[in-house]
């Protein structure tokens, strides 16, 4: 007999299946749901690896072709702010991992604390980024849109703060113009990274609000776990951006 007849006869309707309200109907069990959504988030992170991959490829090429320009241009980045940012993000990864732990242990108060800390640290990261970018803007090191100036590279002595630390040699005009390429990659990569941070922080607000209602501390912490994966991934991107952009050569 056809399926609709079976339903009409009520054979299926008799067996009302007990499952938690957060289990979607197309899943057989909560575990399958957790498993599937976790796997889905990992696959999404794979797409993100490949997305950033294109930028890393461009960076690799340009750095090798214009190494002197990259070295001197990277001296324009503040090692203090860069390291601070790295530290902030790594600690935020820790607080995010602790958020997941809190949700697993069903401790709502702790969960809110750690989510809040992650949020603040994330904002801190963006704030520092803003400071750094502003510095670049003021010094006319923003390529393409704000009168890029390679004066600091043609004549490094004209930039006393950086010069007294590194004593860079003046670059030839051809090589000095390639510092624009470095800065383009700097803004593209940190910009793309910052965009992902902004999305993450937005989602954190959502998670925080939901966490307050106890949504994640009654056994269903999938969303927090999967968001945690995203957050850690953004951290990993920065873990690579830091040495590639800031630490090219400071000797």
């Amino acid at each position: 007999m056809s399926d609709s007849t079976a339903i009409a006869n009520g054979t299926a309707a008799e067996k009302h299946h007990e499952h938690p309200p957060y289990q979607r109907h197309h899943f057989e069990s909560v575990d399958q749901q957790f498993d599937a959504t976790n796997f889905a988030m990992w696959l999404f992170l794979l797409t993100e690896i490949m997305f950033f991959g294109g930028l890393f490829m461009a960076y690799l090429l340009m750095r090798n072709w214009y190494y002197p320009a990259f070295v001197e241009a990277s001296h324009q980045l503040s090692i203090f702010w860069g390291t601070a940012n790295t530290t902030v993000l790594i600690i935020s990864s820790f607080t995010m991992a602790m958020s997941v732990w809190s949700a697993q242990m069903r401790r709502k108060g702790l969960l809110l604390v750690f989510l809040g800390l992650t949020f603040v640290l994330g904002l801190g990261f963006l704030g520092i980024k803003g400071i750094e970018w502003h510095e670049k803007w003021v010094k006319h090191h923003v390529p393409g849109i704000h009168n890029f100036s390679d004066a600091s590279f043609l004549n490094p002595a004209s930039d006393p703060e950086v010069y007294k630390e590194y004593h860079d040699k003046p670059l030839s005009p051809a090589m000095a113009s390639k510092t624009e390429m470095y800065f383009f990659l700097y803004f593209a990569m940190t910009g793309m990274h910052a965009l992902h941070m902004v999305i993450g922080i937005g989602l954190l607000i959502y998670i925080f609000i939901r966490a307050k209602t106890g949504a994640y501390t009654s056994g269903h912490y999938t969303f927090v776990e999967n968001f945690g994966l995203y957050w850690h991934f953004v951290d990993i991107i920065w873990i690579f951006l830091y040495p590639l952009l800031y630490l090219i050569s400071r000797y």
């Binding site: 790295t86 790594i90 630490l247």
Partner: protein, 123 residues
């Protein structure tokens, strides 16, 4: 909603504990410490000239970027294994991460074969 189809228990029973493994905060803290130390290390190393290795005529390996990337990869591994729980995940998840890295390396590596062979010796 009165009509529910029958649910059958699936294959996830045995792995319940595995994928819901709770990592202790103490371990997280140790990883955090390791990450911060590695950050300080990589920052410090950038101030030291580690020299180079002349493999053959025209092919030189500079140690600074190698060390920097090695430290970065170590930090990444710590985050992936412990913060992202890969150490406690199913084999499929581990394979997924590895395949992502593999394809990324293919993109970089095979594109490089073109660039390096175009500028043979001058790369």
């Amino acid at each position: 909603m009165s009509e529910h189809s029958e649910h059958n228990e699936n294959n996830t029973e045995g792995e319940y504990h595995e994928q819901h493994h709770v990592v202790s905060p103490a371990l997280y803290a140790m990883i955090l410490l390791a990450l911060l130390c590695a950050t300080a290390l990589t920052c410090g190393m950038s101030y030291i000239d580690l020299g180079e290795w002349h493999i053959t005529q025209g092919v030189t390996l500079f140690w600074n970027p190698v060390v920097a990337l090695a430290i970065a990869c170590t930090k990444m591994s710590l985050v992936v294994l412990f913060f992202m729980h890969i150490k406690y995940s199913r084999r499929l998840t581990k394979l997924t991460v590895l395949s992502g890295l593999f394809i990324f390396l293919t993109l970089i590596g095979m594109t490089l074969t073109d660039y390096m062979s175009r500028a043979w010796g001058r790369w």
